[in-house]
Symmetry: C2
Subunit: 224 residues, 2 copies
DNA sequence: CGGACACTTGAATAGGGTCAAATTCTGTGG
DNA sequence: CCACAGAATTTGACCCTATTCAAGTGTCCG
């Protein structure tokens, strides 16, 4: 098994004067399933490091990656007693598993998780706009901008000087990008090729590319 | 002005022993804008009665209705200091406006809102699957199922006896349905016509239709 | 009853999907 | 270092679903 788990009973020092809570810190290898849809929702997870994807499946195999969660995000939150999607790591990931029952007992933890859910709720709406109304090129551009920290979002600082380029590590295969953006693998590939031919990006390795002009790509998201 | 507002300083009796909170109960006429995207987010709203839509716009006019909120739902929640979408009533609606600053002071209210956000967060993910992976017919079927309370969701009771029909009040124009499901008005119209011709539904009035066999429509959502 | 708006229908089109094949990585073992 | 296998990706040709554009038709409300 690729997973190594370290369970521990620990004091959450950073959360102040709460009583001792039952938490487990776990490390998962890349592409490891953490839970499945319709399984009893026993834990709420916090991502410390790495990247986790949440996805839903239709019976005929169509897949939709509904969310990508990196450090600081939470997952496993559900309004019913079972998980509403599958969770799987993309990169090697460190997560904290909070026992669902114990969360109620820590107002600080509750508050923290609520804050994360609120943030993720807002970004899931931005994603709905992507899925619903954007062209393939706009989707890819939007996705690339998401991969450049600090740019493109609310109060983007704008280009930094002459050379406004950025290196991006995708962390997802073409198939995963397709399932996230609701395209096919072929369309993702074709769109990236078209962007490369137009000189907007350079594909260094499979998962690594360079955006030559961040602002120009940002203008291609359709948002401006 | 179509809006009649009643402001009041009231004790939220149902929320127990919290101190007096600043809330305003307001009534809005149908198709009335409540707030705009990028406006300072001063309030969090709770829907008491009616129907509110949240939507985002792209600069070129493309619109995506990201959420429909009925009684018991909240809106105006944002992780940044401005609203991230537009809010507009569809039906005449009664809402409670909570002062953003005052929310923090009521743990009970905080908890209540968090609970709503959690629920809405989950349903927004289900909607992402609709937008991303479903065909026009599946989208319309999914939407119709959403309009039939108690059916199609987690632990649906199944058909009730021989005559498993339901009357639906849409409350949305074809254009709004299109913007919610990410289709065009023509595709919505054509799809409804096709369903009518196949004898699955009967279109009584513009906004009212009858589903002859709920289970059959449910099977058309693509979820089963 | 008439005007405005919402909806429906038709024909042509295009964007992305599907299917199939070629190419490029990546890792392994010699 | 090179050869090879298997997988991931790219590319090509064709197709289909939903869109676009353009008329109609229906419905509501004064």
């Amino acid at each position: 098994m690729l997973t190594s788990s370290v369970f521990c009973e620990m004091q959450i020092a950073s959360r102040g004067r709460d009583s001792i809570a039952s938490v487990a810190s776990r490390r998962f290898a890349p592409r490891t399933q953490i839970f499945r849809e319709s399984e009893p929702a026993r834990h709420v997870y916090e991502v410390v490091d790495g990247l986790v994807m949440l996805y839903k499946l239709l019976p005929d195999g169509r897949r939709q990656i509904v969310e990508l969660i990196s450090a600081g995000g939470v997952f496993g939150v559900s309004s019913v007693p079972v998980y509403d999607c599958f969770a799987e790591t993309l990169a090697a990931s460190q997560v904290i598993a909070h026992d669902r029952a114990s969360i109620e007992q820590s107002p600080e933890l509750c508050r923290h998780i609520s804050e994360c859910v609120k943030r993720q709720y807002c970004s899931s709406r931005a994603h709905a706009l992507v899925l619903g109304r954007k062209t393939a090129t706009e989707r890819i551009a939007t996705f690339m901008m998401q991969c450049i920290p600090g740019r493109g979002g609310y109060n983007c600082p704008g280009p930094r000087g002459r050379n406004d380029s950025a290196r991006i590590r995708l962390g997802l295969t073409r198939q995963e990008i397709a399932d996230y953006l609701c395209l096919t693998i072929e369309t993702v590939s074709r769109t990236l090729t078209a962007l490369r031919r137009r000189g907007l990006i350079k594909i260094d390795k499979r998962e690594q590319l360079r955006v030559n002009d961040v602002c120009r790509v940002c203008r291609m998201t359709g948002d401006h």
